[in-house]
């Protein structure tokens, strides 16, 4: 121990090693390629308020060329794209979306102030990729409601399609409480039928025993 204390160089060596380790640590801090810039709370706000969506009839101006700051990106696979796609749409399939070259492309588009409209077969197919891009900070990326299937349904008459709100999802098709209790109200109206319910139950017991 005393020899060690008498040798000041050892302390210097320790100091240098220490500094090297710290530097090495700082330099190799994981710097992920892609980072979320949106907090989950912001994402929730975005989807609850339905921001970043494009109605199908809004495409008309894009398709006839009166708006040229919009780029359509088809997220379906190359095969589907080949079979048919929205006019002037580019094809970047969802699986390739986060590749370096595509991320660079999207960054460039964002810098140039070009709005990107992504679509899939339907809204659901593009929903995930769209949310990922949004969370990565590409707030110029929008999702086409209704997707390609709605587009093909209206084709050249897309401008008239605002009356058909099939693209608008999230609503209830039925009054669930009422539909789901149809049998309930039937049985309720005639009390005599309550007996029928009982006999049914007997059968149930038989079935129970049988199996």
């Amino acid at each position: 121990m005393h020899i060690h204390e008498l040798n000041p160089k050892k302390t210097v060596i320790a100091l240098v090693l220490f500094a090297v380790v710290i530097l090495f640590g700082l330099l190799t801090v994981v710097n992920p390629r892609l980072k979320y810039t949106q907090t989950p709370e912001e994402t929730i706000e975005m989807v609850v308020w339905e921001e970043g969506t494009v109605f199908p009839y809004e495409l008309v101006d894009v398709l006839d060329g009166s708006i040229d700051t919009v780029l359509l990106i088809d997220l379906r696979n190359n095969f589907e794209y080949g079979k048919g796609h929205i006019q002037d749409a580019e094809n970047i399939s969802s699986v390739d979306l986060l590749k370096d070259e595509n991320i660079d492309r999207l960054k460039q588009l964002k810098e140039d102030g070009i709005a990107v409209v992504v679509y899939g077969k339907n809204q659901l197919e593009a929903n995930g990729p769209w949310m990922v891009l949004r969370q990565l900070g590409f707030d110029n990326v929008k999702i086409l409601l209704g997707g390609y299937s709605y587009y093909t349904k209206w084709g050249n008459n897309l401008g008239d399609s605002y009356a058909d709100d099939a693209y608008f999802l999230g609503g209830a098709d039925h009054d669930f409480a009422e539909v789901a209790s149809t049998n309930f109200s039937d049985d309720e109206t005639s009390n005599t039928k309550a007996k029928v319910t009982f006999s049914r139950k007997k059968k149930a017991v038989v079935a129970e025993g049988g199996c």
Partner: protein
């Protein structure tokens, strides 16, 4: 000589003070974007209404249904045993305790599948596993389970089997409500009996 040690000590103390200036990082379990995208590409998160019906009827203890619609809609109608986490409260205090429970499979559902899928993406990013989406949502639930359509005569026997199952399930779900609403004291007995009947119908 001892002075060197003192310097060293101070150096370490100063460096450790740097910890205070590090950005807050509580996102360790966040899924990175590449993995999130990969999971999104994977359609296995979607569960059909038939599967869910079967699980409810069999009282699968691992099933945790999560209704992401608003509180009002939830109070009006929901699936049996579902809990309510409105989409806008997914990050609110307390709600996330319902997610990530060991051995539980959480299934999000909404009117259709968009909102549920959005909830799924956010929850997945937050690092929760064993989460699923009810394909088609409640609209599909009504159209397949509650009011099943008879397959055309030329349909496969599987289609008819499925139809029979759905008929039974429909009886179970609409009938079970009679007992719970009508005769309070007998309700539990009725429900279990009907359940067995439905199972027998589907299984045999």
């Amino acid at each position: 000589m001892n002075r060197n040690y003192i310097y060293l000590t101070f150096l370490i103390l100063i460096l450790s003070a740097g910890v205070f200036f590090l950005p807050e990082r509580n996102n360790e379990k966040f899924l990175n974007p590449e993995d999130l995208m990969w999971d999104i590409m994977n359609p296995s998160r979607f569960i059909t209404t038939d599967n869910i019906a079967q699980m409810i009827i069999e009282k699968d203890p691992t099933l945790e249904l999560i209704d992401v619609r608003s509180v009002d809609e939830y109070n009006d109608f929901t699936l049996q045993g579902a809990i309510n986490i409105p989409l806008d409260s997914l990050c609110a205090e307390g709600y996330q305790d319902y997610l990530g429970i060991e051995d539980m499979n959480a299934v999000f559902f909404s009117n259709d599948d968009i909102k549920a899928d959005q909830a799924w993406v956010i929850a997945r990013r937050l690092g929760f596993g064993s989460i699923y989406v009810l394909k088609g949502g409640l609209n599909c639930w009504i159209n397949t389970i509650i009011i099943p359509k008879m397959p055309v005569e030329t349909a496969s026997s599987e289609a008819f089997e499925q139809y029979n199952f759905r008929k039974g399930a429909s009886m179970y779900f609409t009938g079970a409500e009679i007992s719970s609403d009508n005769a309070g004291e007998k309700s539990s007995v009725k429900v279990t009996r009907k359940k067995k009947k439905a199972v027998a119908e589907g299984g045999c």
